[in-house]
């Protein structure tokens, strides 16, 4: 079959699964007084539409920061504003100041879901397609298979279309950034990534690789001469983008400080809920949350994150090529996830281990279906495109069984949280293994097997 038809089929399948998942319930549906992330997004539309810019991040009589105060960078706020304008056109009740708190209706749900789909189609999906087309090795069949895998990735679909978030925007922008760098359009790449960063501060996880890659590239071109000019241009692009995004907040020095305070709430603890990272897992054995003071916790997490991220970044700095860059992205995000402060499980977006969160949202069925489909599909494709690894093959049933156990068995009364904690610890061990493995791969650069096959 021709390429265009295969790619469009992938896109259509991706879109259909997304919309099908959106039929199910969202975070905090029917659960006053706080509801969930869905209500948060709606509330931000209400706040940005009705209040002046300088009040968005501040605690005022009209803006109660305790009720889903804005805690993402300005670009999210602007996005909410645009959505609010559309909402106002369709039904003003949706963004009525104060009165629309906890507003839930079928048509509103449709509207919100539609906004996610729209940005997905606009930003994320084209990035994925271009990435698979230009940067995947292999035959066109393999490219299409990769595109399908990425587009059907359950984690993203479930979080964005089930739970309700706009991760596709920030991830999509970051992907455009990667695309830019890959095509040699450094300025465009930096612009895209800066926008991603200004949409969700979580993209900081990817920032170090971007920085090291670009810096390394400039150094390689010679710091006296071309490299320097390139560095200057990139820095200028980044600074101007930041300035434009933060412009409304630059009039008064208190503004950016408050925004930063909202973005990085060091007032909160080391972790919340069950997260598959070091601190949560360690807490099972040693109650570090209570044992250590907050300053010590901060210092410890900072130090360990730095420790794990340094080797990979330095390697990238010395050898700025695309392959190193991709690996560094993986390593950097894993390091941040495992060791940084106040991490949310959403940060990892990995399907198999987000069960606790999704079960809370009543999303068990779509989760099971999409995960199984994804596992089956990846396994099937993997076995066709590469030589199957026996251990890998047996691994997936093990995963499925453990998931099933979690769902069907009742935990013993003494340890009501037993299963979520076990899942978290299990995942943590996986991630620890991944970060060690990928670091080794990046640092040692084993001979890459020429695994191209003559298949079409």
């Amino acid at each position: 079959m021709e390429n265009w038809s295969l790619f469009s089929l992938c896109v259509l399948l991706g879109l259909t699964s997304r919309w099908a998942v959106s039929f199910h319930s969202y975070s905090g549906a029917g659960k006053p007084p706080m509801f969930g992330d869905y209500e948060a997004q709606r509330h931000w539309q209400e706040v940005t539409y009705n209040l002046p810019v300088h009040e968005w991040y501040f605690n005022t009589t009209n803006n109660d920061l305790n009720y889903w105060g804005l805690d993402y960078p300005p670009l999210t706020a602007y996005h909410s504003l645009v959505c609010a304008y559309v909402a106002k056109l369709l039904n003003p009740e949706w963004v009525e100041l104060h009165a629309s708190r906890g507003y839930e209706s079928h048509s509103h749900k449709l509207f919100m879901r539609a906004t996610v789909l729209f940005t997905d189609i606009l930003i994320y999906i084209p990035a994925v397609l271009l990435y698979c087309f230009y940067f995947c090795d292999g035959s066109s069949k393999q490219k299409v298979a990769t595109a399908l895998c990425i587009l059907l990735y359950p984690g993203l679909i479930l979080i964005d279309y089930g739970h309700f978030q706009y991760n596709s925007v920030s991830l999509g922008l970051a992907l455009w950034g990667i695309l830019g760098l890959g095509l040699g359009w450094d300025l465009f790449g930096s612009l895209a990534f800066t926008l991603a960063l200004n949409y969700k501060q979580m993209e900081l996880y990817h920032s170090l690789p971007f920085f090291c890659y670009l810096l390394g590239k400039c150094i390689k071109q010679g710091l006296i001469g071309r490299g320097f000019f390139q560095l200057a241009k990139i820095s200028l692009t980044v600074l101007v983008t930041f300035a434009l995004c933060w412009m409304p907040f630059l009039s008064d020095p208190k503004q950016p400080l408050q925004v930063l305070h909202r973005l990085f709430p060091f007032g909160r603890g080391l972790f919340e809920d069950k997260v598959a990272n070091t601190w949560c897992s360690l807490n099972v054995l040693i109650k570090i949350k209570t044992l250590l003071s907050r300053e010590t916790q901060l210092f410890l997490s900072f130090a360990l994150t730095l420790l794990f991220i340094l080797p990979s970044s330095l390697k990238l700095l010395s050898k700025p090529n695309l392959w190193q860059f991709k690996l560094a992205l993986v390593n950097s995000s894993l390091a941040f996830f495992l060791f940084s402060f106040q991490v949310h499980e959403k940060s990892i977006l990995l399907a198999a281990f987000m069960l606790p969160l999704l079960v809370k949202d009543g999303l068990l069925l779509p989760y099971v279906v999409t995960s199984l489909a994804f596992l089956f599909l990846s396994l099937y494709l993997l076995s066709h495109l590469t030589r199957t690894n026996e251990p890998l093959f047996w691994y997936f049933p093990f995963l499925v069984i453990s998931v099933a156990t979690f769902v069907w068995l009742e935990p013993p009364a003494k340890f009501p949280d037993l299963f979520p904690v076990l899942v978290s610890i299990l995942s943590f061990l996986h991630f620890l293994g991944f970060i060690i493995y990928f670091n080794l791969v990046q640092l040692m650069e084993p001979q890459r097997k020429k695994s191209q096959k003559k298949t079409n």
Binding site: L9, T16, W19, A20, F23, L377
Partner: protein, 487 residues
């Protein structure tokens, strides 16, 4: 090392596809469910809680039992499983009961029934798709005629809509099976008639009917059952006209009446109040053209399929000829039948899809018919929530069939001629107008059914075109019996 016997490429794609479709259906469990949901819930309830003698008399709900007895037995069987999901759904007075467990059960039973579907597909050819009908066709193609006949009788007793294609079955079996041999040029050899075969076939068919209808005949309820199965009290057309001949007939009638009034040929007061586009299903009169009675539709249907039946009697073309006749019977009944539902077009499309992979002409006709009929089903899903799904799925199917058929028939030019392409592309503006533009205009309030009418008529043109082309291809096809691939 190799894990297991490696599956052939085709087979593995087939399983992947089957699984994928099932997954998608699981996801869509929460989607809008039509009155069909309540219909089946009611039937589950009444078969479960009432004695057999009451099944065809029960009328608490407006959705009375109007499928043949074997389907009733099927619902009865299902109801025993339904107990485990939610007992409340089986209480007859619980009209419109729809607890989450109920919804889940209904959807799951549909999905499980699909398993039969997929099994049948596997049997037909290493890699194709569809149901008990196809299993039956498969058995015929494999020369397991008794099984094929049995399966079809079962099918007929499950859903009497398959009566549409019974003539094709009957004639084909009579001609190809009861007459064991043909002459060299394909014509009938009268002396090869086998009484034994006829008797066995007859026994199979009659005994299936006996099992299904038996209890009701014993209770003397046959007239009641038949009146439920064939309710001619309903009108010529469904509330939403199926895209068949009568849609064109209706629109012509409307056009004439408007023109007639404009040119003072008719008196507007003397014309019957046409409420054809009204929501309820009722009897109504045509204004200018003669009214159509159920008998007239029956006659038209028979006339439309007679040439095809005669053709396969005269020169049967093996499995392919049988399939072609099947398609024409289904399509003819769709075109001229009384109170046809647009879903019935599926019966023509399924066998046609089998033909499409073997012949480029059939592929073209298949594309025309399938895209048109899929579009004609759009009005059935009218909620905003389902709008993206139906558009995505339609595009998915269209691109998939187009691309795969194109790859199959790579040499020899395009599958569709420019006129056909224009017609199909015309569906896009039609959808935009009906779904997006029209609701924003003033006419939405005064003529709310105009988009439905437009859709019916536009699709009816496509369906009629496909019908004519199919007939031409049947009547002009060569008489040589080709060996099919699956010997």
């Amino acid at each position: 090392t190799v894990m297991a016997a490696p599956m052939t490429n085709d087979q593995s794609w087939f399983y992947a596809l089957a699984l994928g479709v099932s997954f998608l259906k699981c996801l869509l469990i929460n989607a809008y469910h039509s009155t069909d949901f309540e219909v089946h819930r009611n039937w589950l309830a009444l078969t479960h809680s009432l004695p057999v003698s009451q099944w065809y008399y029960e009328a608490t709900s407006e959705w009375t039992l109007d499928y043949p007895p074997l389907f009733a037995w099927f619902e009865y069987g299902l109801s025993h499983i339904a107990c485990f999901f939610d007992k409340e759904m089986l209480v007859v007075p619980n009209l419109n009961y729809a607890s989450p467990a109920t919804v889940l059960f209904q959807r799951l039973s549909v999905i499980v029934a699909d398993v039969v579907f997929f099994y049948a597909v596997k049997e037909y050819y290493n890699g194709f798709l569809f149901g008990v009908l196809l299993l039956s066709i498969a058995r015929h193609c494999q020369n397991r005629h008794f099984e094929g006949a049995f399966l079809f009788s079962v099918l007929l007793n499950l859903k009497h809509i398959y009566l549409y294609i019974a003539p094709a079955y009957g004639i084909y079996l009579l001609r190809c099976f009861c007459f064991t041999q043909s002459n060299a040029d394909g014509s009938l050899q009268w002396r090869s008639f086998s009484v034994v075969r006829l008797v066995i076939l007859g026994t199979i068919v009659l005994s299936t009917f006996a099992v299904s209808f038996g209890p009701f005949i014993a209770l003397g309820q046959l007239p009641q059952v038949l009146s439920r199965l064939f309710p001619f009290k309903r009108g010529l057309c469904h509330a939403y006209w199926a895209p068949n001949i009568w849609a064109l007939y209706n629109i012509a009638d409307k056009a004439f009446s408007i023109l007639g009034v404009k040119f003072r040929l008719l008196d507007i007061n003397k014309l019957p109040k046409a409420s054809m586009t009204g929501g309820l299903v009722q009897e109504f009169q045509h204004s200018v053209l003669p009214s159509v009675s159920p008998l007239a539709t029956l006659v038209c249907t028979l006339l439309s399929i007679l040439p095809a039946l005669f053709k396969i009697w005269h020169r049967p073309n093996g499995a392919r000829g049988f399939l072609r006749c099947l398609v024409i019977c289904a399509l003819g009944s769709f075109m001229f039948g009384w109170h046809v539902h647009e879903k019935a077009i599926m019966m023509a499309i399924l066998p046609l899809s089998l033909l499409a992979v073997d012949s480029r002409k059939d592929a073209g006709i298949f594309l025309m018919l399938s895209v048109t009929s899929h579009y004609s089903l759009f009005p059935l899903l009218f909620t905003t929530q389902e709008l993206p799904i139906k558009i995505f799925l339609m595009l998915l199917f269209t691109i998939f069939s187009l691309a795969s058929l194109k790859t199959l028939f790579r040499k020899g030019g395009a599958l569709l001629n420019p006129l056909e392409v224009t017609y199909l592309l015309g569906l896009i503006p039609l959808e935009l107008i009906c779904e997006f533009v029209y609701p924003l205009t003033v006419w939405q309030k005064t003529f709310p059914f105009l988009p439905l009418m437009l859709t019916s008529v536009y699709c009816a043109l496509g369906v009629t075109y496909a019908f004519i082309r199919l007939y031409i291809s049947l009547l002009t096809c060569s008489d040589t019996t080709k060996k099919t691939k699956m010997q």
